[in-house]
C-alpha cells in the first residue's frame, strides 16, 4: 500500500504493521465484515416475514394450515439449529435443481439419484456452469440467507405466536361485538397491539441472530471466520511478503472483541426502543416510567 513497504528494512519496525494491515488479503478480510452485516440486514426482515406468516398460519381456522404453522413453530424446539443450517443448504440446492430439472428437461429418463450422486441435466444446474464466478458466490450467499431466514423465521414465529396470544382477549371480543369481520379484527386490533408483547422476544432473537452469523462459515461463505483462519495461519517468507508465526489466536481475539462490541451496541439500542415503546402503555414498564417522571 505505502511506498516504504517495498523497503526490506521495514520488516523489523512497527511500520511493518502499517504495511501488513493494508495488504489486499486483509482488505478482503475487512470486506467480509460487510458480508456479515449484509447477511444481518437481509435476514432480519425476511425472517420476520417468515415468522409472521408462520404465526398467522398457526392461528388460522383452516385446520391443515394451522397444523403447518404449528409444525413450523415446533420445528426448532428439540433439534440443534446447526443441524438445520447444514440440512437446508443442501436440501434447498437439490430441491431447486430438481424443480428446474423437471421443467427444463422433461424427456430425461434416468433417475436423479444414482447411488451417491445427484444428477440433473446440464441446463438445470444452478447456477449454470458457464455463469461467471460472481453468480456462484451470489447463489451461495442467497442460499445461506434463505437458510438463516427459515430457521430464524421459526424462532420469530414462536415469539409472534406467543405475542398474539398475549393481546387481551376482551379486545378481540369487543371488535367482534362491533361487527368487525375476522380479517378486520386480525389486521386492525390484534396486529397493532401485539408488537409491545413481541419486542422482548424479538430483541432476544436479534442477539441470537447476531451470534449465529459465524455459522456462515459452515455454509461455505467466505466470511470473517474463513478469513481469520486463512490469514492467521503461519506464513513463511517464501509464500508471503509479510511472514509471521501462527496468529490465528489474535485474529479470533479480534473477532471476539468485534462480537462483544456489536452485542453491547445492540443491547443499548434495543433498550432505547423498548423504553420508547413502553411509554404510555398500560403495562408494568409503562407504569414505572410514569411514576419516575
Amino acid at each position: 500500500m505505502f511506498a516504504f513497504c517495498t523497503d526490506p528494512s521495514v520488516l523489523s519496525t512497527p511500520a511493518w504493521f502499517a504495511c501488513y494491515f493494508t495488504t489486499g488479503k486483509l482488505m478482503l478480510f475487512y470486506g467480509s465484515f460487510g458480508t456479515v452485516l449484509l447477511l444481518l440486514a437481509i435476514t432480519a426482515p425476511v425472517a420476520l416475514a417468515f415468522g409472521f406468516a408462520g404465526a398467522s398460519a398457526a392461528r388460522a381456522r383452516f385446520a391443515p394450515l394451522s397444523w403447518l404453522g404449528k409444525i413450523y413453530i415446533a420445528m426448532v424446539r428439540g433439534v440443534p439449529d446447526i443441524v438445520f443450517f447444514l440440512f437446508f443448504v443442501i436440501a434447498l440446492d437439490q430441491g431447486l435443481e430438481y424443480l428446474r430439472h423437471k421443467i427444463k428437461c422433461p424427456d430425461w429418463d434416468q433417475p436423479i439419484r444414482q447411488g451417491s450422486d445427484f444428477i440433473v441435466c446440464q441446463a438445470a444446474k444452478l447456477p449454470l456452469s458457464t455463469a461467471p464466478q460472481i453468480w456462484h458466490e451470489i447463489y451461495g450467499f442467497s442460499l445461506a440467507v434463505l437458510t438463516f431466514a427459515i430457521v430464524f423465521g421459526a424462532f420469530a414465529a414462536n415469539v409472534l405466536f406467543g405475542a398474539m396470544r398475549a393481546v387481551p382477549h376482551a379486545q378481540l371480543e369487543t371488535a367482534e361485538a362491533y361487527g368487525m369481520t375476522h380479517r378486520q379484527t386480525f389486521w386492525r386490533i390484534l396486529i397493532p397491539q401485539m408488537w409491545v408483547y413481541a419486542l422482548p422476544g424479538l430483541s432476544n432473537l436479534w442477539m441470537v441472530l447476531v451470534k449465529a452469523t459465524p455459522l456462515l462459515f459452515l455454509l461455505g461463505v467466505e466470511d470473517i471466520v474463513y478469513w481469520a483462519r486463512e490469514l492467521g495461519g503461519a506464513k513463511t517468507a517464501r509464500f508471503s511478503d509479510y511472514p509471521h508465526a501462527d496468529w490465528r489466536v489474535w485474529y479470533f481475539l479480534g473477532l471476539l472483541v468485534f462480537y462483544l462490541a456489536f452485542t453491547r451496541l445492540s443491547e443499548i439500542a434495543l433498550a432505547r426502543i423498548m423504553k420508547k415503546l413502553t411509554h404510555g402503555q398500560a403495562t408494568m414498564g409503562g407504569e414505572a416510567q410514569r411514576k419516575a417522571a
Partner: protein, 268 residues
C-alpha cells in the same frame, strides 16, 4: 451383514473401539443410525459434564454478581458479559488456537488442544455464564420475607444461604435452567466444527451425520436420524429436570408451582 454386526462394529466407534475405517460404500440406514448414535456418546459426555461442573461456578458467579463488594461484582459481571456477548462458535475457535499457542510454552496444555478437555473447558465456562445470569435473576427475586424470617430465626452467613436462599433461588431459576440445559446439549454439536480436530475420526453425532450427508450427497436421511436422537435427548432432559423441579417445589401448594415451559431465549 446383519444389523447386529454393524452395532458390534460401529456401536462404540466414536470412542475408537471397533472397526477402524468408517463405512465407504453401501451406506445402509442401519449403519447411519448406529454410527450417529455412537457419536451421541460425545454429545452426552460434553453436555453432562459441562452442566454438572458449570452448576457450581454458576452459583458462585451469581452470588458474586449480587454481592455488594466491587471486587467480587465486577469480575462476575465481566465474566457473564464476555461469555454471553460473544458467539460460542468464536469462543471455541479462540480457545483452540489459544491452547495451541500455550502448548509450546508448557506440555501441561497438551490435552487442552484436544476436544475431550479443551472443548469441555469452553462449554463449562459458557454454561456457567449463562446459568450464572439465570441464577442471578432468581437470586434477586428471592422473597424478602423468606430472608427476614431466616434472620428472625437466627440464621446468618453460610447456613442462611445454604438452607434458605439457595433452595429458593434454585426453585425460581429451575424453569429457565431447564432451557439452558436443553440448549447446552444442542451447543455440543458445534465442538467438532470449530477447530477442535476429531482425532482418528472419533466425532460427535453431527460429525458423523455430516460425514454421511457428504458421502451420499443426500441430506434427507442422515440429518433426520440425528434430529430424532436429539428429540429423544431433549425429552429425557425435560423429564429429568421436571422431576427435580417437582422435588424443589414439593412444599408449595399445587397452584403456585411453576411448570417447566419451553422458552427459546437462551441460545448461543
Amino acid at each position: 451383514m446383519s444389523c447386529w454386526d454393524v452395532v458390534a462394529d460401529y456401536g462404540l466407534r466414536s470412542l475408537g473401539i471397533g472397526e477402524r475405517l468408517l463405512p465407504r460404500d453401501d451406506f445402509t440406514i442401519c449403519k447411519q443410525v448406529v454410527l450417529i448414535g455412537s457419536g451421541m456418546i460425545w454429545n452426552v459426555y460434553f453436555g453432562v459434564l459441562a452442566l454438572i461442573s458449570g452448576f457450581f461456578l454458576a452459583t458462585a458467579v451469581a452470588v458474586g454478581k449480587a454481592s455488594k463488594s466491587r471486587w467480587l461484582r465486577k469480575p462476575s459481571e465481566w465474566f457473564i458479559f464476555i461469555f454471553r456477548g460473544s458467539p460460542l462458535f468464536i469462543q471455541f475457535f479462540f480457545a483452540y488456537f489459544l491452547f495451541l499457542s500455550l502448548k509450546s510454552l508448557s506440555p501441561i496444555f497438551d490435552p487442552f488442544s484436544s476436544a475431550w478437555l479443551g472443548a469441555l473447558v469452553v462449554l463449562f465456562l459458557n454454561t456457567a455464564a449463562y446459568s450464572g445470569e439465570i441464577f442471578y435473576g432468581a437470586l434477586l427475586s428471592v422473597p424478602k420475607g423468606d430472608v427476614e424470617a431466616a434472620d428472625a430465626y437466627g440464621f446468618s452467613g453460610w447456613p442462611r444461604f445454604r438452607k434458605i436462599v439457595w433452595p429458593t433461588m434454585l426453585r425460581l431459576a429451575w424453569p429457565a435452567y431447564t432451557n439452558e440445559a436443553i440448549f447446552l446439549f444442542h451447543a455440543t454439536t458445534l465442538v467438532f466444527f470449530s477447530g477442535f480436530p476429531a482425532w482418528q475420526q472419533r466425532g460427535d453425532a453431527l460429525y458423523y451425520a455430516n460425514y454421511f450427508a457428504d458421502k451420499t450427497f443426500n441430506p434427507f436421511v442422515a440429518y433426520p436420524i440425528l434430529a430424532g436422537y436429539f428429540i429423544v435427548l431433549t425429552l429425557l432432559v425435560i423429564a429429568l429436570f421436571g422431576a427435580i423441579n417437582r422435588r424443589l417445589n414439593r412444599h408449595l401448594p399445587q397452584a403456585r408451582q411453576s411448570r417447566v415451559r419451553y422458552r427459546p431465549n437462551l441460545m448461543r
